[in-house]
Amino acid sequence: MRVDLIDKEPSGPIQAVWEGARAIAAGFALTLKHLFRKPITEEYPEFKRPLPSRTRARIVLTRDPDGGERCVACYLCSAVCPVSCISMQSAEREDGRRYAAWFRINFARCIYCGLCEEACPTSSIQLTPMFETCERDILKLVYEKEDLLVNHGGKDPDYNFYKHAGVVTAIGGKGEHAGEDQPVNVRSNMP
């Protein structure tokens, strides 16, 4: 089946020349106009556009306001990670605090979906706007805990999980956490 792509037959050769010339002139006019405008292209890497703080890129492990590692190695981020790029081993500090003995993120595999951040119960794991992580050696994209730890609280600077958790650590004993009663006296007979 033949499809008619041209809806109007040119009426004559003079008309056609005129139409062509007009089109060329209009094109050059537009080009000429933009030549004197300020460009909207940004020259990366000379210029780096400020990104919103919620941008999902390179992952960090933050610290609580007291400077302690926030990560308790609960395994929720590694469980939720759809590409299984997070692995860790939890351990216990002398004061009873649970922490990550090691923590590894394979950024070669990470898809920056942010589910780990969503799952994190202690605001430890956070995605940052820093996205320039390319490496030629893929092993350099495997980040260990020391590469991931930062010295701030990221987007949630005030939260300290161990002030609420109720387990005994150097942060507080029984009854010393937020919203806790003094430990009950089991031997009391008082009503």
Partner: protein, 814 residues
């Protein structure tokens, strides 16, 4: 048989079934915290609420307390019931701490599941949360009382089900507390079950603390090999480390629980000092190199100068392939037992367990009279003690005939009897309690041959004979540790006699090690470890092949062992443990544990059970990473994965290349090892295992030797080597967390002997032997037979130097 409707589906259940169980039969899981199939109902948590639409009491009812009756109509999804359950969860969560991320129960927590599925998210109550002080409960259980929801499961399990009193309920009202009156290690050898049974994180598993979450573990159904019962377990592996073991429900064997020896006995598999490299004269070598070296040296020797010693802790595959290798090459052995006596006992037990007579561990609670002869359940096979307790709770009389001061977590009667007299007491008891009138044929002749009460000496308690006479389902439990082979036979005949007397009698043997049954099937009576070692000491044997056996831990004569090892030219050891034997080996070949190779084990009632391989092996990441992150290297293959299944290595030592695929290997051995032919394919084994129907073993009924009158009293004191719950079973002694639970090294003496020797309880005594003196604490026992001394076979105690008896003058106060 009431018929009821649950959620518009009809079901007919047995009378007495609770609605929660009826629903479970329909596949409807009603939320529960306090209800547990093994512990029953108490209606404490109120979360199993359902709405009864038709029935004796309409409206909201607790389904665990409600018996199913005919015509009942129940809705679990009714709005009122759902609301009710939602509120229950909300108030249970009112005081629950905000610590799921650091709680080890998270991920398999019943409370977490119910909270999420019930839709509760935000705490509306503005008040403060209740807190509790915690206790140190020993090396196995971690206590965090804040998380408690007061379901009472722990106290019911610990006190009612297990019969121990040191953990229970304290305080009242809002202060109700579950713990001990003072902190300290839990006394029950079943305490590890607390972490399984607690629906939240009050009791969590201490040895596997913070290792991983349930979803990260490689979980595999396995069989416990720390005694002969073959309880079912689930093994959790993470990062190539065997991390945790839990009970696996099995109606025929262990029920819902597992003892602490079984639960925590696995640490040998992931120990840092586990040998994973082959070695020639202590120098690390490649597996192929070491194999070739061993093979060439073996081939240089005459086959008769080579002997093989295996052990009943190996899987049936290993035992069968070892036996086959020895048979093919004409090597001596394999010896699976220390001496003829031990081999005979197991052989007797294996041949006398008729299909109709044998009872499983799960059937023990149906007995109404249990006679235990020469067995110490809590120490030899702890889960048996738990089963016996369930029988005793239902009213069964339990009588123990044993020289040792047996203790059990329930009321029972003990007749302290010298080891030599065990058979006589059993015979007298049978004669007293069974009327000869109803018997005929061999049974009558056997009854007539039984001894009566002697003219002098202590009389048997009349009550035991009365109870046995009145019982309808008696069970005879017979040990094989301290009893003679004749008594093992006698126990079977006793059960047969009770059958002849119209009782539904059962027979239950306790064997020494996990796969003693299979070893008993395969062993030759002319090759036992003592004979092999004697031949080696005399120079008739030049090479010894030890297949997963450490004679330093198992063989009772250390002097003979040393003589034999000094004389031989070549010692080849195949093992997965770092033992004195493996350190002295000329050629050491590392083998795989049960968790890596899998294997068939046959328990003491002849139940064939398959324990699946839990992981592929290799050094745990914890070790390769030096407790930090795993090494940053590329590569395929596992570090430390040189160990191979012992059966395969033995076959290759014998010059055979056998198929490496485990299934092909199994087919291969079941073809070859004739006595095990007909073993079903492991894929077709039912979940509870399969009782072995032995075809070519025939035993003669009622032919057991008559108990001779005990010999005239000699002045010597007989040594009774005895098992302890912790510290004597070889593999579990490699668990660091069980070390502190081990008994002190002691010598149990009867009060009579103690007075004669001038020893008081707690005194240090020195026992002089040919090989030097052994110093121990004396434990004076009231319920112990005189003329015997009880010595625990603890690995750290040199019991091998003591011999079979000691003269009284060799015992002195230290």
């Amino acid at each position: 048989m009431p018929k009821l409707i649950i959620d518009d589906r009809e079901i007919e259940v047995a009378t007495g079934t609770k609605v929660i169980e009826a629903a479970a039969q329909l596949g409807i899981s009603i939320p529960r915290f306090c209800y547990h199939p093994a512990l029953g109902s108490v209606g404490a948590c109120r979360v199993c609420a359902v709405k009864v639409l038709e029935g004796p009491a309409k409206g909201i009812q607790m389904s665990c307390m409600l018996e199913a009756v005919d015509g009942m109509q129940v809705s679990t999804a009714d709005r009122e019931a759902v609301e009710f359950r939602r509120y229950v969860i909300e108030w249970l969560m009112m005081n629950h701490p905000h610590d799921c991320p650091v709680c080890d129960e998270g991920g398999h927590c019943l409370l977490q599941d119910m909270t999420v599925s019930g839709g509760h998210g935000l705490r509306r109550f503005p008040g403060k949360k209740r807190t509790y002080p915690d206790q140190d409960l020993g090396p196995l259980v971690q206590h965090e009382m804040n998380r408690c929801i007061h379901c009472y499961r722990c106290a019911r399990f610990y006190q009612q089900f297990c019969g121990y009193r040191d953990l229970g309920v304290l305080g009242i009202g809002n202060r109700t507390y579950f713990g001990r009156t003072a902190g300290g290690r839990l006394e029950s050898p079943f305490s590890g079950n607390l972490s399984d049974i607690c629906p939240t994180g009050v009791f969590t598993d201490k040895p596997s603390r913070f290792i991983g979450r349930r979803w990260d573990y490689q979980r595999t159904p396995t069989v416990c090999i720390h005694c002969s019962l073959g309880c079912h377990a689930v093994t959790s592996v993470r990062y190539r480390q065997v991390a945790r073991q839990e009970a696996r429900m099995s109606a025929a064997v262990n029920g819902w629980f597992l003892c602490d020896r079984g639960r925590y006995g696995f640490f040998y598999a992931s120990r840092a000092d586990r040998p994973r490299q082959a070695a020639i004269k202590g120098e690390t070598a490649g597996m192929e190199e070491a194999l070739a070296h061993a093979r060439s040296r073996l081939e240089a020797l005459a086959p008769a100068a080579v002997a093989v010693i295996g052990s009943p802790r190996s899987s049936t595959e290993v035992l069968a392939l070892t036996e086959r290798a020895a048979r093919l090459r004409g090597w001596r052995g394999p010896a699976f037992f220390a001496d003829v006596g031990a081999a005979l006992k197991v052989k007797a037990a294996v041949s006398r367990l008729e299909a109709g007579l044998a009872v499983s561990l799960g059937e023990i609670d149906q007995a109404d009279f249990i006679l235990i002869v020469g067995a110490d359940p809590i120490n030899e096979a702890p889960m048996l003690a738990l089963a016996l307790r369930q029988a005793a709770q239902k009213g069964a009389g339990v009588w123990v005939v044993d020289p040792r001061p047996v203790s059990l977590p329930f009321e029972f009667a003990h007749i302290p009897t010298a080891p030599k007299a065990l058979g006589a007491v059993l015979g007298r008891l049978l004669r007293k309690s069974i009327e000869p009138a109803g018997l005929d044929g061999p049974a009558a002749r056997f009854h007539a041959s039984l001894p009566g009460d002697p003219a002098s000496g202590p009389e048997l308690p009349a009550r035991a004979a009365e109870l046995l006479a009145a019982s309808r389902r008696p069970i005879i439990v017979c040990g094989t540790g301290i009893v003679a082979a004749e008594w093992v036979e006698l126990a079977a005949d006793a059960a047969l006699l009770l059958r002849a007397a119209q009782k539904k009698a059962g027979l239950f043997y306790v064997l020494a090690e996990a796969n003693a049954f299979a070893a008993g099937l395969l062993t030759q009576l002319d090759s036992t470890t003592d004979r092999v070692l004697k031949a080696a000491a005399e120079g008739d044997i030049q090479a010894l092949v030890l297949v997963e056996n450490d004679p330093f831990a198992t063989f009772p004569d250390r002097r003979l062992l040393e003589q034999a090892l000094a004389r031989i030219e070549l010692l080849i050891v195949l093992d997965y443990l770092d033992t004195p034997a493996s350190r002295r080996a000329h050629v050491f070949l590392p083998t795989q544990t049960l968790y890596e190779s899998g294997g068939i084990f046959i328990n003491q009632e002849g139940r064939v059970q398959y324990s699946a391989a839990a992981f592929a092996g290799g050094t745990p990441v914890r070790e390769t990473g030096g407790r930090d992150h795993p090494p940053r290297v590329y590569g395929s293959g596992l570090p430390g994965a040189a160990p191979q299944p012992a059966g395969q290595l033995v076959a290759r030592l014998a010059g055979e290349e056998i198929p490496i695929d485990i299934r092909a290997q199994r087919e291969y051995f079941s073809e070859q090892a004739s006595r095990l032919a007909g073993l079903p394919d492991t894929e077709r084994l039912p979940p509870d295992g399969l009782r072995l129907a032995l075809r070519n073993i025939s035993a003669e009924r009622f032919k057991s030797m008559l108990p001779p009158v005990p010999a005239a009293e000699s002045d010597d004191i007989e040594i009774i080597l005895t098992e302890r719950t912790f510290g004597t079973e070889e593999l579990s002694t490699y668990s660091a967390c069980l070390e502190t639970l081990e008994d002190e090294t002691f010598a149990g003496v009867s009060r009579q002997d103690a007075e004669a020797l001038g020893i008081r309880d707690g005194d240090r005594i020195a026992i002089r032997t040919e090989n030097g003196a052994v110093e121990l604490a004396a434990r004076v026992c009231d319920n112990m037979a005189a003329g015997a001394m009880m010595i625990p076979r603890l690995r750290r105690l040199p019991w091998q130097t003591l011999g079979k008896s000691i003269r009284r003058r060799d015992i002195r106060k230290a």
